[in-house]
Chain length 207, copies 2
C-alpha cells in the first residue's frame, strides 16, 4: 500500500471511529422500549409511501396492523393489491377506507364527515386494542383540518393507546397539537416533483 | 338544514370546487408517460421506508423490482422477511446487499469500497435491463459521498436507463448532481425523533 493510500485508509478509519462513537452513545442512551407515534407531514412525495413501507415491515414480523385511509378510499393502488393477497393468518392486516371518492370530487361536507366519523370509530377501537401493534391513520390531517373529527378526542385516543402500540399519522398541514403528541415528526419537503414538469403520476411508483 | 349549516355546506363546496379545478388542470397538463427518478434525502425518518413502500406498490402490479442496499446489508428487517416470502412468479423481486456490516463498524475503506463496487455492478446491469420496472438504490448517497463509486458513471447509468424504468435513490446528503438527474426530490426533514428522547428504535416500525 502506498503512503497516500495508507493515510486515506487511516483518515477513513478515524472518521468511521468517530461516527461509531456517536452512534454507540446514542444507542446506549436510547433504552426505553415502547410503541412510538410518528407524524409524516409536508408537501413532498413519500408520506403515505413511508406508511406503506412500515406496514410491510411490521407485517414481516407477524405483527397485527390496522390501516385507515381518510381520503384515498377508492383509488386503485399497488400496495393494496399485494397486501390484500397475503395470508391473514401469517400477516394480520385490516385495511379500512372512507369509502367515498376524493374529497374535492364529492364536494359534500356532510357525507364526507359521516364517512370520516365511521372510519374514525374503527380506528378508535384499534387504538384501544392491545393486540394491535401498529395503527396507520393515512391523511388524518385532512379529517382534522376539515373539522370532520374532534381533535381533543383524537389526541386523547392516541395518548391513551396501549404502551406497546405504535401509530403513524400522515398528511399535509399537521398542526402543532399533532406534532406535540408524536415522538417522531418528519416533514417531507418537496424540492421538485415530476408532476410540475408534465409527467403523469407513475403507476406502480406513485400509486 | 339551518341557514348557517347551509352556508357552511356552500363554503365547503366552493373550496372543494376551487381545489378540484387546480387538481384537474394539473392532471390535464401532466400527460407524459415514462419512468421517473426519485431522490429521498434529508436527516429525517422515512427515506428507506418510503422506498420499501414503493417496492410493495410496484410488486402489487407484478412489476419487476431490483433493490440494492449500500449500507444496511446485514441488518434484520421486517420488510425483507415479508418480501422474501412472496412467490417470485407473481412478485418478481431481486434484493441485493453490500454484504458487509454497517460502515462505521467495519472501518475498512478498501473492503467497503470493493463491496460497494460489486453491488454497483448488479445495479448497473438492472439500469440497462428493459424488463426491470423499478430500481431502488438505498443509501446510494453514502457510496457516492465516500467516493466508493464514480459519480459520472452512476449519473450516466441513471440518465441512460430504459424510458419506462423508474429509479429511487435514498440517503442523507444527496449532492446537487443527484438532484439534477431526478424528476422528484423530497427532503425528509426531521422535526423531532424518538431516539433523541431515549426511546429505542422500534422493531417492526423502524427496522
Amino acid at each position: 500500500m502506498s503512503e497516500s493510500e495508507n493515510s486515506k485508509q487511516q483518515r477513513h478509519k478515524k472518521r468511521m471511529q468517530a461516527r461509531k462513537e456517536i452512534v454507540d452513545s446514542g444507542i446506549a442512551n436510547a433504552l426505553e422500549e415502547r410503541g412510538i407515534a410518528i407524524v409524516y407531514t409536508g408537501d413532498g412525495k413519500g408520506k403515505t409511501t413511508a406508511a406503506v413501507g412500515t406496514v410491510t415491515r411490521a407485517l414481516g414480523y407477524g405483527y397485527k396492523v390496522v390501516v385507515g385511509q381518510f381520503i384515498k378510499g377508492v383509488w386503485e393502488c399497488g400496495e393494496k393489491n399485494l397486501l390484500s393477497q397475503l395470508d391473514p393468518e401469517i400477516y394480520p392486516l385490516q385495511w379500512h377506507e372512507m369509502g367515498t371518492d376524493f374529497t374535492w370530487e364529492t364536494q359534500d361536507f356532510e357525507a364526507d364527515k359521516a364517512a370520516a366519523l365511521a372510519l374514525w370509530e374503527k380506528l378508535k377501537a384499534a387504538l384501544a386494542d392491545e393486540s394491535v401493534y401498529l395503527v396507520v391513520m393515512d391523511e388524518l390531517t385532512y379529517a382534522l383540518n376539515y373539522k370532520w373529527l374532534d381533535k381533543t378526542e383524537v389526541v386523547a385516543a392516541i395518548q391513551n393507546r396501549p404502551r406497546e402500540q405504535s401509530v403513524i399519522i400522515t398528511g399535509r398541514g399537521a398542526k402543532q397539537y399533532l406534532m406535540d403528541v408524536a415522538d417522531t415528526v418528519t416533514e417531507m419537503k418537496s424540492h421538485k416533483h415530476a408532476f410540475e414538469n408534465g409527467v403523469s403520476a407513475r403507476k406502480g411508483v406513485e400509486w
